[in-house]
Symmetry: C2
Subunit: 329 residues, 2 copies
């Protein structure tokens, strides 16, 4: 691959002139511009981003941290991020951390090393301490997951309110014994959603029974299966279930099926996230939809603003309850 020197030589001009043509900056006479353009074509020249980035000390690359690409929840968010980034001439680098701190470090280093201009983190297991440290010198946005200290700008939804709405819906359709399948409450969203669940119960004077709250370690289908298995063993079984993730809810439905139970007649189920599978289950799953695409766009816009040294404010977007068969009689 040719470099700028060779192009300059072939065109019979200096490297500066070639660079000017490349960036169509200052005034280059039409005739020399043509000469340079021809030389570029002939040599099949492509400017090296390494050289350019080193000089400009920017990479126009954005890091997007996700714990696992297998979680369909991230799909639309990433689309939003990507479209927005590309519109601003940035590219994104999808980084799957698998919640592995070492892998996380690799990506943090890319930012420190100027190989990326900023980070959007969607990893709830991210080392917040390190991230905050990184945020002192670099642009970082939290998306969907965030930190209460509000040191790092975030975009998310009101998890407490969303959970409240979901549970209220279950109550409205006649349920009084409502279980919660929650993830590990070390995560902020898990604590917030539990709090919304509790608020709804309290508001209608329904009992809050701790055996109806099951915490999973992961968010896989299998965890939902396991949770439901436990709940069905109870003497007093719940009549409805709010799961904080569609994957858990789908696992729960699967286990109900295996036990010959039907939603919503035997047990009504509400999930969270509106992943594409949630419309493929039998019955289809009632769920809370987050404005994922918009969330992605917003996160990207915030990050790019932050990179350009603009002040950035955290944002909470609206959610929506999508009622399907698993809560419709």
């Amino acid at each position: 691959m040719a470099n700028i020197q060779e192009v300059a030589q072939k065109a019979g001009v200096s490297v500066a002139t070639v660079s000017r043509v490349l960036n169509n900056n200052s005034t280059v006479s039409p005739s020399t511009r043509l000469k340079v353009e021809n030389a570029i074509k002939e040599l099949n020249y492509e400017p090296s981003m390494l050289g350019r980035n080193l000089r400009n000390s920017e990479s126009r690359l954005l890091l997007v941290l996700i714990p696992s690409i297998s979680n369909p929840f991230y799909t639309e968010i990433i689309n939003g991020i990507q479209n927005t980034a590309i519109a601003h001439h940035y590219n994104i680098l999808l980084c799957e951390t698998n919640s592995n701190p070492e892998r996380e470090d690799i990506y943090f280093n890319m930012v420190k090393n100027k190989l990326a201009d900023g980070v959007i983190s969607m990893d709830p297991t991210v080392n917040m301490q390190k991230l905050i440290e990184l945020a002192e010198n670099h642009s970082i946005i939290l998306c969907s997951e965030y930190d209460e200290s509000n040191v790092i700008p975030y975009v998310s939804i009101d998890n407490e309110l969303a959970a409240y709405h979901a549970v209220k819906h279950l109550i409205k359709i006649g349920n009084e014994k409502i279980a919660l399948i929650n993830s590990d409450e070390k995560f902020l969203y898990a604590r917030q959603r539990r709090s919304g669940y509790e608020r709804a119960l309290a508001e209608f004077n329904l009992p809050l029974r701790k055996e109806w709250i099951y915490n999973t370690t992961q968010l896989d289908f299998q965890d939902g299966v396991q949770a439901m298995r436990m709940l069905l063993k109870l003497k007093e079984k719940p009549s409805a279930i709010f799961a904080v993730s569609d994957t858990l809810a789908i696992g729960a439905l699967k286990e109900m099926n295996a036990s010959g139970l039907k939603a919503p007649d035997d047990i009504a189920v509400v999930g969270f996230d509106n992943i594409s599978f949630s419309n493929m289950t039998n019955p289809t799953l009632t769920t809370v939809a987050q404005p994922m695409y918009k969330m992605g766009c917003t996160a990207a816009t915030m990050l790019i603003n932050s990179i350009h040294e603009n002040k950035v404010e955290s944002i909470l977007l609206d959610h929506e309850l999508i009622i399907r068969e698993s809560t419709m009689g």
Copy 2:
């Protein structure tokens, strides 16, 4: 962020010495090494990859092209790629092309621009012409998808044989009227799987009826729903279905459910890919599993070998038929 000059100054040595400590290359005396290491710590210095990469003209970044991260099929492959890459001190850049040629161009340019050292393409819609052109000067591996011309090394499975096995299984359990839900046959794998389907039918002297072959445009659930809807409208309905993707098969199951039909009693169904959700459906889905993790590892190993100028041969890995409820009486 400090640079190597400042470290050198603080340590009272030359930049060369600092660089030597960084790469713990040649012999640096223990005492100066200590001085340098202290300076590095004090200044919180991290070497700039831009400078290093420019000088070494490598980025140690691998591009992984996928059409869409929403397809769960890629999950394990990517894990394999990532683990192998990291073991060799490479990082991967996940690139979602959305089958958009412009986006594809962006990523191709990153390679031409030395911002990435090589590419693993898993995008069946990739512009093969351009890719082959790129392969003249750069390291490229095709994974799962490939090109018959064999100009670019690939790792895949024997699609014809896998389809043959799947259909033979349907025949063995007593089906004679077997439909094929195939994707667009512009894709090589689609042609190969159809060919395996036809071979199995021919071997058992079963009729090959063109109304039992349905081609979808995409691989979404909805396409499977649509396909099944058409097949159920036929005067003579098939008794079994081989779908070339689990997503299609799951859509088909969904539509059967909606019509009050049960697998396998009314219609047996076999999918392809063994995505995690295929074990969550009701009934669970019989499917052809590809050794996805291994495929990813192999692809990464091949690419890294190729980057290091080693000769690389294409490889076909073994598949496995996983029999579940959708074909078990």
